[in-house]
Amino acid sequence: MLEKTKDIAKQILEEKKAGGIFGLMRNRWNVVQPHMFEDPAELDALVLEPKWLLAKLAMSILRSSPENYKLAVVCRGCDERALIELIKRNQIEKERILTIGIACSQEQAAICLCDRPYPAKLDAGKKVSGVDPFQDERVREFLIGNDKKRMEKWATVLKRCIKCYGCRNSCPICVCEPCKLEDDIWVQRGAVPAEMITFHLIRAFHLSDTCVACGACQEACPVNIPLLYLQLSMRETLKEKYGYEAGLNPEVKSPILSVVFEEPDTDREYPAWINSLREKDGY
């Protein structure tokens, strides 16, 4: 898989399809770091492990480089979906980005609870089947039980928050400027632990239809809050009701931007109606 990725990368550089390959490099101190490969001779140092999300870095590279500069990114499934979401939100120009898709291993999929551990455009590696996150014991612990139990469970983990904003900064799709989480109206500044309802739920809801379930937020969290589990049920709803998954198709817009009648026919339940022709009403 590694050799094939290197071959493709070399080809791209030699044919000048892109100005640089953005991937992971093992440097001379044997430490893995993101690196921009602009010379084919450098490519020997390219590595694929560990999982490292490059979408946000790729975006900042593209923003600071000249307009005709093209970038090829070595990306996993989640990374590719994040790039597509960024394209949909007009953060990256579609023409300026190339992807070299690599598949994740079964172990990695189990760690990330990934239901789609491969990119749509797969270049190297073998597809492995995804994991259903709702069958996992770690997730069930948080999603099963009555409301009171769940509330206590979440309160105990969210109380650990030190408000480092790591979840927001590491998220490949959190790009808003200015951010509501820094505004006193919504979230009180300087208060630790963060206000639980506002800080965590506003952040989670803003990503409701864009979350690609990469798990960067919980990997970045220094106090191990399982932030990805907050998103799972919303992702599942979007999938079930509208057949929408974030980051799959750059042409399909998020369903929460369209009205009900434009949807493909699904057996959806409408919220409680008020019958305006009731006898009790004097009209």
Binding site: Q188, I197, F205, T237, S258, I274, S276
Partner: protein, 141 residues
């Protein structure tokens, strides 16, 4: 136990007039709710709902126009979808989706307004308060 408190966001074309009419007809209503007029139900940000819950409000109701009766390009329909997603999030965290009410009515539906608010109060009264989630600051007194 304290009586629950409700915040109502009412669209000014329908929900608000209905609420107003309920007052004009002297229908007896529970006291602990406040109505905030908004231009359209779709203008109620989900963040504002979360902010209200964090401020010690027990339930939030959003009243819009009937499906098909929206003045603003069927905006209430996009709002439904957003609220449904928010309900999922509230259920996940155990706050409970029944703290959020999304309903539609027209301007003359004052009796329905009364019924909605009374039912909502009854529903909220049996829920446990949000205490474990409220930080010691920022609570609206």
């Amino acid at each position: 136990m304290n009586e629950p408190r409700i915040l109502v966001f009412a669209c000014r074309w329908c929900g608000l007039i209905g609420a107003d009419a309920a007052g004009k007809k002297r229908i007896s209503l529970p006291a602990r709710f406040r109505v905030i007029p908004v231009e359209c139900a779709a203008l109620v940000e989900t963040d504002a709902i979360l902010r209200a819950l964090a401020g010690g409000i027990d339930g939030v109701a959003i009243l819009g126009c009937h499906i098909g009766g929206c003045r603003y390009n069927n905006a209430n329909q996009t709002a439904i979808k957003r609220m449904e997603l928010l309900k999922d999030l509230l259920d996940t965290t155990g706050i409970g989706s029944n703290r959020l009410l999304f309903s539609f009515g027209t301007a003359h539906e004052d009796y329905q307004f009364e019924e909605i608010i009374k039912n909502f109060f009854d529903e909220l009264a049996v829920l446990s308060p949000l205490d474990p989630w409220l930080a010691p600051f920022g609570v609206i007194s």
